[in-house]
């Protein structure tokens, strides 16, 4: 199995020009098979870059990459629901046409709207077991990105019973841990969500959260909380492939993601070992240590030395 790479949705609030340049370079240079577009954390950010999305999508398609439209994680009230309906309406045209786009649902409202049409299910939907996976497959899910905290034992069991559903596991990037109605970025700046003034745009990899004794712990991204550590399963890729996982997700950080994707491509192709790849990745991402604890059934913050 070759193993496909997906670039997950950009979780952070990057300025629109930077976002556009990032995706153009991904389209032109990154060896990824699919790219998720769309705002998943805070609907207030969308208007800043929405106008660029058609050009970004077209450039990705021309480069032979599948465009995946990711929906919001926490959908509450009119504005969020409209955004999901808009994605679905757009998807209707795109996925039924020749373009091969896919919509990735990140909550059960989106799953309901996509019922009966081929779609993907994102990692923010609780797919912990075979029963849930089967139900989603019945509704049209072709691809399911598994929740971040699943241990190897669960991934193995799900892969064994996945049938025609393609399973995806995130192997690089800060790990999303929580979503809220409250904006912690605004709160940290003494503001509320309604008067946030988009303070999240100063932290392209999230706002560092430390314990009172100065130990890095978490990262704030608006209403989302992520790990401080960068989740990294580069050592575990052979094990994941043996389980039957065929697709691997890289989550954008403001580092050279083209280089990151090339490293994962070479690992998937068996051209370098995990240990060497991890060293290269650490040089590219110096702002936080790596963690792989969830995969090994430990606390998510843990780093378990890989067994060869």
């Amino acid at each position: 199995m070759r193993g496909a790479l997906t670039l997950g949705p950009l979780l952070f609030n990057w300025p629109a020009p930077e976002r556009r340049d990032f995706y153009f370079r991904i389209a032109d240079e990154a060896p990824v098979d699919a790219v998720c577009l769309g705002e998943v954390v805070c609907g207030k950010r969308t208007p800043f870059f929405a106008a660029d999305l058609p050009a970004i999508a077209e450039r990705l398609r021309r480069a032979g990459k599948q465009v995946v439209w990711s929906t919001m994680v926490l959908v509450v009230g009119g504005r969020d629901e409209e955004s999901v309906r808009a994605v679905r309406a757009a998807a209707n045209g795109l996925t039924n046409g020749q373009r091969g786009d896919l919509v990735e649902a990140n909550d059960f409202g989106a799953i309901a709207l996509l019922a009966g049409m081929p779609h993907a299910v994102g990692p923010f939907v609780n797919v912990y077991n075979e029963g849930t996976l089967h139900h989603l497959a019945t509704g049209g899910a072709q691809r399911v990105a598994l929740p971040f905290e699943l241990p190897a034992e669960s991934i193995r069991a799900l892969a064994a019973g996945a049938g025609a559903v393609e399973l995806e596991v995130q192997v690089f990037g800060r790990t999303p841990l929580a979503i809220s109605a409250r904006c912690y970025h605004a709160r940290a700046h003494g503001r509320g969500k309604n008067t946030c003034d988009f303070v999240c745009d100063v932290d392209p990899d999230g706002l560092a959260v430390e314990t009172l004794d100065g130990r890095p712990f978490l990262a704030i991204n608006g209403t989302q909380t992520l790990s401080h550590a960068i989740g990294c399963l580069v050592h575990e890729i052979p094990a994941l492939k043996r389980m039957g996982i065929g697709r691997f997700r890289l989550s954008p950080q403001r580092i050279d993601m083209v280089a990151v994707s090339r490293i994962f491509r070479t690992v998937l192709d068996g051209r370098i070992e995990g240990a060497e790849a991890a060293l290269q990745l650490a040089e590219l991402a110096p702002f936080a240590p790596f963690a792989n604890g969830f995969f090994h059934g430990r606390e998510g913050a843990a780093w378990v030395n890989a067994k060869t």
Binding site: V76, Y128, E130, E149, S180, T225
Partner: protein, 331 residues
């Protein structure tokens, strides 16, 4: 005058708390079995089969219903305990089960079609389309709404959906969308979603250093207070952290939801039931909270406007209360 007074759904972490809640006027008690199948899987809590059956007898004799929370997510390959919990709830005369996992809802609808199904807050169904998904697929009769919604959003939802809704009135407050939070897993390896524990006592350590009491969860310091000052339990999202050069309660203060003062507004949202959180609480606490809410609801039912004072302040976490996400300013 209000004629439709919501059902009062009260916590029963132990048989003693169950009796206290029933005697204080609960319309419903909710409980869990003594394992990871429910989201309050703490030592010394919950019901074995015999206790459950006696509890159902006691509640039903007093005209009170019993809901069973089986609201964690069965791990792949190990659904057994969750299926057994469902079977036990059905056989023991539960009036409803409170479920979150799609696979388990599927199992319940197929194997116990006559057992009433409620959607747990852990399912995070925060919009009308999501609620309809669970209604259409599994015939849920009620949804417990996430604690991320404002009163205005709850009222709007109630106009859009046909299932009953249940909302929180009192008790501990998740500040993150429930069932979608892995903060405690990240620090401890114990998942709220699959192990049924958040910030578990087994991973809490207190340490005295330099005139301070430091509370830790796993390897991480959650709070630090000067010796002699009261130290709260280190629930991760209620801890103090530093960010952007400041430190404090970055996520939420150690506080409890208390919506007693806005009960008429809660009722106006059209919710069918009001829930009191607190299966980890003792019977004296449960008796006092339930009795207060019972009296207030009864007064409202008679068209009286009870004095909604601060009678429960002593029972809130850190003696501080909030109306939480119900007011938009909380966000």
């Amino acid at each position: 005058m209000h004629t439709d007074i919501p059902e009062l759904v009260c916590p029963a972490g132990t048989p003693a708390a169950l009796r206290a809640a029933v005697e204080a006027g609960a319309d419903v008690v909710y409980l869990g079995f003594r394992d990871a199948t429910n989201a309050r899987n703490f030592p010394g809590l919950n019901f074995d089969e015999a206790e459950f059956r006696r509890g159902v007898d006691f509640a039903h004799t007093h005209g009170c219903k019993v809901y069973v929370a089986i609201n964690t997510f069965p791990p792949a390959g190990r659904p057994g305990p969750w299926h057994e919990a469902l079977d036990r709830a059905a056989d023991g005369g539960a009036d409803a089960v409170i479920l979150a996992d799609v696979g388990l809802l599927d199992y319940a609808a197929a194997h116990h079609p006559n057992l009433r199904r409620h959607l747990s807050v852990q399912a995070s169904a925060s919009n009308a389309a999501a609620i309809r998904f669970f209604q259409d697929a599994f015939g849920i009769a009620r949804v417990v709404l996430p604690r991320v919604l404002t009163l205005a959003e709850i009222a709007a939802l109630n106009r859009q959906v046909t299932v009953e809704t249940e909302i929180f009135a009192f008790g501990g407050l998740c500040v993150m969308a429930e069932g979608r939070c892995a903060l405690s897993s990240y620090a401890t390896g114990q998942s709220p979603n699959t192990n049924g524990v958040c910030s578990p006592a087994s991973h809490v350590r207190y340490e005295r250093r330099d005139g301070n009491l430091i509370s830790r969860l796993g390897d991480f310091t959650i709070d630090k207070v000067a010796d002699g000052l009261p130290a709260g339990y280190p629930t991760l999202c209620k801890g103090r952290f530093g960010a952007g050069g400041c430190s404090g309660h970055l996520f939420e203060e150690p506080t409890s939801l208390d919506a007693l003062g806005m009960l008429p507004k809660l009722i106006e949202t059209g919710a069918s039931a009001l829930k009191i959180e607190g299966r980890q609480r003792g019977r004296a606490y449960v008796a006092r909270v339930v009795a207060t809410y019972r009296q207030t609801l009864d007064a409202l039912a008679k068209g009286e406007m009870p004095i909604l004072d601060d009678t429960l302040d002593a029972l809130t976490e850190g003696q501080r209360k909030t109306t939480g996400a119900y007011m938009k300013s909380w966000q």
